[in-house]
């Protein structure tokens, strides 16, 4: 599934035409597209609708804490073609990070985004039902690198209130 050189060039052209502000480079495994948060939704829509990419299957949505920025990585597959395209976006805002929800494009994103919100605190606007998935509302966001949990760590030994 690794793209060859010529494929990659053709693909870059294609994506540039769809989303002008995208950065494209070949990752270790898949072609990776990085877009600013503002054009995330447009890029996702374009990748899904374009007959050459047809990314109608959102394989995976991962929220990542890069230390200074929070980001979301979308692994996009296709039920027609075999390729995987990685779509990335980052936001420098840590206090109240907000990204567009892709629920309207891939319905599977609903649970994925709830999970990312639960564990990393990334809010997704226009999400139909953005609640925490696993943890209750009093928790912090445990997958953030700066997360310190005084109350729940085993070393502390005390029960949470």
């Amino acid at each position: 599934m690794n793209t060859t050189e010529t494929d990659m060039a053709r693909f870059s052209e294609l994506v540039k035409a769809l989303v002008p502000e995208a950065e494209i480079h070949e990752g270790k495994q898949f072609a990776e597209i990085t877009v600013p948060p503002a054009s995330l939704l447009a890029a996702a829509e374009a990748l899904k609708e374009n007959p050459d990419t047809r990314c109608d299957y959102l394989i995976n949505l991962t929220g990542v804490d890069y230390g200074t920025e929070l980001g979301v990585i979308y692994h996009l597959g296709s039920s027609k073609h075999g390729q995987i395209i990685v779509l990335k976006t980052k936001t420098p805002e840590r206090a109240n990070p907000v990204l567009e929800s892709v629920c309207g494009i891939w319905r599977t994103a609903e649970f994925h985004e709830r999970e990312a919100y639960d564990l990393l605190g990334i809010r997704f606007s226009n999400h139909p039902d953005l609640r925490r998935l696993f943890l209750d509302d009093t928790w912090g966001f445990p997958l953030r690198k700066d997360y310190v949990d005084d109350t729940n760590t085993a070393a502390n030994g005390e029960d949470r209130e």
Binding site: Y57, I59, S79, R107, E115, D129, L135, T138, L143
Partner: protein, 377 residues
Amino acid sequence: MAKIENEAAYGGAEEQNEYVINIGPQHPSTHGVLRLVVTLQGEIVKNVQPHVGYIHRGIEKMCESITYPQIIHLTDRMDYLSAHMNNEAVCLAVENALEMEIPDRIKVIRTLMSELTRIQSHQLFWATYGMDMGGQTCFFYGLRDREKILDIFEETTGGRMIVSYNCLGGVMYDLHPNFRKRVKDFIKYFRSIIHEYDAILTGNIIFRERTMGIGPLTLDDAVSFGVTGPSGRASGFSCDIRKHAPYSAYDRVIFNEVLLTEGDTYSRYLVRMEEMKESMNIIDQLIDNIPEGAHAVKMKPVIKLPEGEYYQRVETARGELGVFIISDGNKNPCRVKFRSPNLVNLGVLNHISKEFKIADLIAIAGSLDFVIPDIDR
């Protein structure tokens, strides 16, 4: 306590004549601690809100502070019925990242074990599904045959369900001398007895009436909801990773991807029945051709992944398991994400069980074959 964001999702019945019941966290048919908040009108399901997290252990968080060989043994505890495939996914991800060459023997052993795991998982599905439908005899028939596979596992790996057989660069121990004979015996036995499964459940008129046309999932919805595994393939979504991105020894065996088009509960059930037969075919092709050699490649004591992002997909018994590792070059990963098939499949439950009866909800949820620890991680 922070404010609950969406009252309706916590079971506010808005319409008149609607009421809410909790199925779970302790309930005979949720197979674990899944809680479904069901809005009903009489017996008719109007809305299903899954509430998960009752056994959330923070496996992804734990992974950030342990080494790669340790992660493998945490993954057993996700989808405990596909324990071997979960191990394999992490191993493959790390091995591919290190660009290691894995000998054929290891690949074949892993494939054999995966397929045995798949058969026992589907057997348990059949057993519990029969019980969900009220036919309790199925449970004992299914477990009777599953025991034989667990015995094979025990002999070789020492574990029965949580096998922890994989390690980086190979498998923990070599195959037991009896392995080949016992697997062959099992295949012979199971081929001769699988017709009982059809006789007691598949062909039963009550069972057919209960499942045919219930909970239909169209192909477009299956793709959009990302429903993979047997549940997705029942809707015609060709999503078998073994076919589309072959790993281990799947590129050298001939097997069919079982695809149906109806997408109802009955076809989700049928796909699993057929997959058991396909798995037996795969084992047939490999069991006499296990290459000689060592059972593991020697690894460095400290394993550090080069900086970068690695994604590995594996077909478990329930669908596509993805392992996504972001490494910053240390011996611990920077971020690990497991794309669990069960959590994604759970997302479709509300969509396909609306306007059906409460008994159908149990049938639909059963046919999606959840393993709760994999949902929660």
